[in-house]
Symmetry: C2
Subunit: 275 residues, 2 copies
Amino acid sequence: MKIVIVGLGLIGGSIAKALRQNTSHQVLGMDQNQDSLLDACSCGAIHGKAGSEDLKSADLVYLCVYPEAALEFAANFGPLLKENCILTDTCGIKSALCAGIEALRGTGKYVFVPGHPMAGKERSGFSASDPSIFVGASYIIAESGGPAWAAEQVETLALAMGFGKIVRTTPQRHDQMIAFTSQVPHVLACAYVLSPQCQAHQGFSAGSYRDVSRVADINDALWTRLFLDNQEALVKELDELVGNLSHFRNLISAGKTAELQSLLHQAGESKRRNG
Amino acid sequence: MKIVIVGLGLIGGSIAKALRQNTSHQVLGMDQNQDSLLDACSCGAIHGKAGSEDLKSADLVYLCVYPEAALEFAANFGPLLKENCILTDTCGIKSALCAGIEALRGTGKYVFVPGHPMAGKERSGFSASDPSIFVGASYIIAESGGPAWAAEQVETLALAMGFGKIVRTTPQRHDQMIAFTSQVPHVLACAYVLSPQCQAHQGFSAGSYRDVSRVADINDALWTRLFLDNQEALVKELDELVGNLSHFRNLISAGKTAELQSLLHQAGESKRRNG
């Protein structure tokens, strides 16, 4: 297959490297940043740069860019893609993106498979890319009515890249779950480090501080978009969390020993049961 | 020196092992659990069990038990300790404990040095003890008017155990900082896993879920006590966090793109500046 990766940042760069290491497909890259393209070429992460002729003959295109840029790509280049070319993305939100891509389809004959590799790290850019972040992680495919063979192709490639688990779900369910598992922790980390005490934590902190604050060094432009594109589900989960925190706060403030211990016990049970 | 460790759980067991590995002091243990005592003896973590005669001649006693049990020890055995015996603890709260120990001093001639080794892990008990958790961590000494030589002695032992940094502070300041660095993350982890979505997180979660929920498998009896003994500082920090979370929630709900991105940027700056 001829595979084009659009956006050679942390995720796109890692996908390129993983495909080159584990498959014999032709892997080409596109990026507005010429340095990323050069770095990717020189380390062998891609066979070369993709031009518009390559897009016309591509079998599969990975969109590894912000949601807005993914929509822009669909608008500008979607009509170039050949019939049954698989267009797949790696964005952290799905419902708004799927609706946007469908709205922009026009004369495009491609098949869209919404994907979300559940892997990342605090740093971004091609220099941070590393295919080992995928090993054992889960790859979500948010089925939105496309043909089964296309989703299966994306799945096969994900397994070849080292992903340990494929999760099939709907765009709506994806966004609900991601609000809880990923977006809330990012909002939380940011809310946490805004405490005035944060300035003086050194010497008083250990693993708990480190873990909660880890993702606070956030890519603010990207996450603003992701949060707003998942407004409803995220606000619901934030309300759930604030409600639970306030419940703890009130039990602590009122000195309700038995109720507090019972609620902590319930939380411990949830963690032990759900992992 | 003759050193007695009261409570051979995760922390007491780790202190015993660290002292045996790195010093030539005599290390004796006390524990209500006979199995912990036997395990500690048989693996060489202690030279033997401490009886009341040993308490009378001890040079230093580590209280590695819950705050209530530490106060009980001071009430029952404080008067046995010889003049200038150093009594030090490892409890996660300081103001209430220091006041309690002073109130119970009676005829006790010992010197009290409030201490807090900033290390731990999710599991508890002697079987989880491991002196490597101390390596490079910080050891807080909450000075409360005792003589300088006693705090220095505790400091020397902490450095011998492998701690990387000694922090001198007051009991009040300790409790304020711990509310932020340790207690809030524990409340948070528990509040987080109480979301109904938690049951279905598998396949949708990665590092962010794991990090925020890590300490939710909590020792509910211990932390109920620690939270209530630090009520004022903890409620203040929880209010700070809930305020910041609600601010994010409202910006997301109202779709305030620029303000949201600016607040995320501010959080990122705080994390980069403060580590």
